[in-house]
Symmetry: C2
Subunit: 245 residues, 2 copies
Amino acid sequence: MNILLKLAYDGSNYYGWQRQKDFITVQQVVEEALLSLTKKEVGVRGASRTDTGVHALAQGVFFKLDTSIPMESFPRALNSFLPKDVAVLEAREVSDIFHPQKSVIDKTYIYKIQNSDTRNPLLYRYTAYERRKLDTQSMKKACSFFLGEHDFSAFCSSEATVKSHVRTIYDMDVYLKEDIINIKIKGSGFLYNMVRIVAGTLLDVGLGKKEPENIRDIILSQKREKAGKTMIANGLTLVEVNYNE
Amino acid sequence: MNILLKLAYDGSNYYGWQRQKDFITVQQVVEEALLSLTKKEVGVRGASRTDTGVHALAQGVFFKLDTSIPMESFPRALNSFLPKDVAVLEAREVSDIFHPQKSVIDKTYIYKIQNSDTRNPLLYRYTAYERRKLDTQSMKKACSFFLGEHDFSAFCSSEATVKSHVRTIYDMDVYLKEDIINIKIKGSGFLYNMVRIVAGTLLDVGLGKKEPENIRDIILSQKREKAGKTMIANGLTLVEVNYNE
């Protein structure tokens, strides 16, 4: 049986999604919970390799398992073996040809920036903080230049190992929600640190250091140093993944 | 100079407000930040002794200090010495007769309960979780029975050491905000664990184990065992303190 979970987690206490030798990761605690529940060694694969400190409301988790637990009961069953900062929201059976990365149509991330005179410490785990007033209208305007298919080498960490830096951005918006600036971006996929660099570049636009129109040239340059800084990981949350089945 | 701060903190990583010998508390980090900023040993007093894991958006912090730092610059100055989970929101000078507890007119707490089929792990630090569907209308109805001056011995931990258990509740409400049940309670003051026991009793009302009208008898009984359980600390936040100056 091929099973796909929708998984949510607070990434604060994890060294990202992907299993590592000496550090605790979300993948590890999910595999350990599956072992406790099923008494079987189950290897899982994620839709996104979220980094240390990055959160998820909709990580895709794929694995093969023969089980008599009905899918509607599966989240609750597995959640009883998961720590408080990780939870399965949904479980469903998928076909034999389903692939945890190749079956993805799009992914959506939200990057949050607290933009106020004083920082609210109850939000620090889930937002970046910027004291200087940001011009959200300019940031919103800048979004349109990211849309479509581009080589995003300028928005990619030098540590990235993938061959092609071409990705498609389907939708992007900047909006205020209770004094938090939300940068929402939906794309075919994202390069290493891409959303955090996009957020850092929009920060420069919000501060007036860059004009919305500059985004076009930054993309065309394919030069990392033309874009803004890589924002801190804890402002980032994977909020949606859609699949072609 | 008598100074009053409005302090916000995420209580997750602290053993409450009040200084303890072997455990880190919010009072300690504030006093250490004041030492770093002013090079003086400054003892501070809080409006509320929040427990381990309890949060604050408006803790009152009082101290005496001769300083040339203008009050409007004080939050930012002190914040640069505070950890990410603690922040000063406001600072002002108060009179010589100001007292951090006796000058308090009222305090407001909010207790949050996540009431959904699946728990959202990004909220676990700030909410209790209840899977069974709660009847918020009954919980709301129960609020009226708490209003006014009562002996709240039934809603008080046996560890409490104060003489009088008489307190006045000025205002109380239960409302839904993005799938979170908020229990908001404003009173002259609160006994040890009182808000968490009130929340546990309202939980019983929401589950149909108690009727709203039972609250009257529970209060009159003055017996702790008549009330509900003490809910976990991390659902509780001190949100407002008003003073008579």
